[in-house]
Amino acid sequence: MSDLDKAIAQLRSCRPIPEDQVRELCHRARELLIEEGNVVTVTAPVTICGDIHGQFHDLMELFRVGGDVPDTNYLFMGDFVDRGFYSLESFLLLLCLKVRYPDRMTLIRGNHESRQITTVYGFYDECLRKYGSANVWRYCCDVFDYLALGAIVLGASSTLSPGSPEDDDTEIEVCDQAGSIISRFPRQPANQSSQEKLDNSNKATVDKTGPPGTGASGSSSGSVGNPTGAILCVHGGLSPLVDTVDKIRLIDRKQEVPHEGAMCDLLWSDPDEIDGWGLSPRGAGFLFGADIVKVFNHRNDLSLIARAHQLVMEGFKEMFDASIVTVWSAPNYCYRCGNVAAVLELTEDESGTGIFQRTNGDVGRSSGGIVEPRGGPKNGPARRYRVFQAAPQDSRGMPAKKPVADYFL
């Protein structure tokens, strides 16, 4: 058993690893992350997860529900730390898994992966309490600076189980933590009203040519193969300074999360029922409306934006004609909110006509993704949401202090 496997085993039982091992781990993680672009390319199948916030026992529940690493390919959209009591164990375990299985684990940065925020919301205090010094916090913050800002998922299928005809028209499936199907939604015919609305909003751009470099004309309406566009994953949302995925690739990300600018917005913004852009009540990032998402998705050949960042009581929430989804993976958030959590599973397109990475994601190149069809909105990938509840704290023989939630008494 390698040292790394030993560390994984120790962390899985919710016991922190010694400081020198943390240092070594963070060093190796940084070497790995420095090679990743700002926008990592991930190929389906993949399970996309939202905020964890140090709720270690619920992270274990997530792995139980979603499958273990490396059997399942995971993409975590940030906010690993703060608020919960086990930020340290949660983040270090994810980091160990990243180092051990780099191709099966993608970690992108959340707004809490920041020096400033972690000193206010708990991670700093936790490191101090568990190690007696801020060293481990510093090592972790150095890793935060190297985390990618987003990911592009390619090759997602428009059906949930290829080869199984009865699932062919299922666009959305919701399962409980035992895997039983709670609900199923068939794909809507293209001429339905929501679809019309989508088309309308896209009329302004319909006569444009395809994305830079593709040479595709906007009027092409090929319908064979390529059923879905790519999926952009980002912690918060869009930025008025970012109109293409390529612009994200140009950011110098290896720094503390700034108070403003594109990098800040990607980690802080929220979709909202407004037109255009609005001020965020969080004091950082922006609010953005359906029109912004639709234009962005169209311009970048995206069928969906997956993001986290906002507590949603049902674990996930699709907005704007399913052009953006919030995934939240911290059940009973802060041991107080009473919400359920969810992960989003995208299956692999096995038809051979799916989307393949067309560029290596280098700066200055196109966002990768699909060549056809153009014109209308892309069909969304088929989505399976696995919904789960908070793990009983004492259920796994792990150390667990009784959660004490804040109230005004």
């Binding site: 919301y121 205090d125 009973n332 802060c334 009473g338 804040d406 109230y407």
Partner: protein
């Protein structure tokens, strides 16, 4: 909180190191008794409720130290023995701030009335604070000028009221406000500050009911009176809490009540709150029924209060805190999660209800 700790407190002006437990919510409460009988279950619960007052004091100091509230007296009520004062999460600080600002607004409007200054000086008003614990409001009010004559009562466990006296005696800035003190039985004491009278009753408020023979020394029945319950009545059974309100409403013609407490909205957050509190041995009978605004108004009407208004802390923040002040508070600490704030703050409400004259200052407040 005993006297020897007091001098140390002054050295803690600078915000203490971060760390320590950021702590639990803030507490308030108490409906004390002088007779500390051997631990029955009820008595055990009483001491848990007493403990919530310590939480309240720590939360108040956290909100003061981070700049949300201005309260020079808050630090005198937090023990230095436990190390540097805990700093609460921003969401808790904002809640402490909003609740304090909202109740201050109601209290000040009540005291100010509508009359001119000349007229005000001749009017006496009375406040009765239930389960007051270490509340600093009397110090803040009696140190301000321009208010009418004020009779202020605080009622709490005798152990709590006795402790409050000790603190006041040991801290000159407090002693200089509540001057001319005299001590009574079971932790009760009183003072004759400038501008009025102050009474601290060491008494179990559950003894107060319409039929009670209990007489609160100094209680006036002839002046407009505000009963204040900041997370106090919620710990009593419905029968007990209604008895307390009726005790006052049946004796005082011009009467009002301001209640701040959590509300059950029949959703998962509410259920989680009940079970989390139960894990801390805190039982709130008021959370047993789903809270409807109309029901609450009807209940208070039955108890003798005619006009009732209610706003959640979430709404109070939106409606009562002006834009400039919001900006100031926002700048103190970022509040990272709006949904969480709306969820938490949406489950606490301030209710104000009144009958008779003397509440002109509340007209137009919604």
């Amino acid at each position: 909180m005993s006297a020897p700790s007091i001098p140390n407190l002054l050295s803690l002006r600078a915000r203490g190191g971060r760390g320590r437990s950021r702590g639990r919510g803030q507490g308030r409460g108490g409906f004390g008794t002088g007779a500390e009988a051997p631990a029955s279950r009820g008595q055990a619960h009483d001491s848990v409720i007493q403990g919530t007052d310590t939480d309240a004091a720590v939360s108040r100091l956290s909100a003061v130290d981070t700049g949300y509230l201005s309260d020079p007296y808050a630090r005198y009520f937090v023990s230095a023995f436990d190390g540097p004062p805990a700093r609460r999460f921003p969401i808790i600080n904002r809640g402490t701030y909003t609740r304090t600002a909202a109740i201050d607004n109601l209290v000040h409007s009540f005291l100010a009335g509508t009359g001119g200054e000349e007229q005000q000086r001749e009017v006496t008003r009375q406040i009765v604070s239930l389960g007051a614990g270490t509340d600093t409001r009397p110090f803040r009010l009696f140190s301000q000028k321009g208010y009418p004559q004020l009779v202020y009562h605080e009622i709490d466990f005798s152990v709590t009221s006795a402790k409050k006296l000790k603190t006041v005696e040991a801290v000159p800035p407090l002693a200089s406000i509540l001057t001319n003190r005299s001590t009574g039985d079971t932790g009760s004491w009183s003072s004759l500050p400038l501008n009025g009278e102050y009474f601290c009753h060491g008494l179990d408020i559950r003894r107060l009911s319409p039929a009670a023979t209990e007489i609160l020394p100094g209680l006036r029945t002839d002046v407009p009176t505000l009963i204040l319950s900041e997370c106090c009545l919620c710990y009593l059974s419905q029968e007990e809490s209604e008895g307390v309100l009726e005790y006052f409403s049946s004796r005082i013609p011009n009467i009002s009540v301001v209640i701040y407490e959590p509300i059950h909205l029949g959703d998962p957050f509410s259920d989680t709150m009940v079970s989390n509190l139960a894990a801390r041995n805190i039982h709130m009978p008021s959370l047993e029924r789903r809270r409807d605004e109309a029901d609450e108004a009807a209940r208070l009407k039955r108890l003798g209060f005619e006009t009732t208004r209610q706003l959640t802390i979430d709404r109070l923040w939106s409606k009562w805190v002006d834009a400039e002040e919001k900006e100031r508070v926002d700048r103190l600490e970022g509040l990272d999660e709006i949904e969480e704030w709306q969820l938490l703050a949406g489950h606490y409400a301030v209710v104000w209800s009144f009958r008779g004259d003397g509440f002109e200052g509340w007209r137009g407040i919604e």
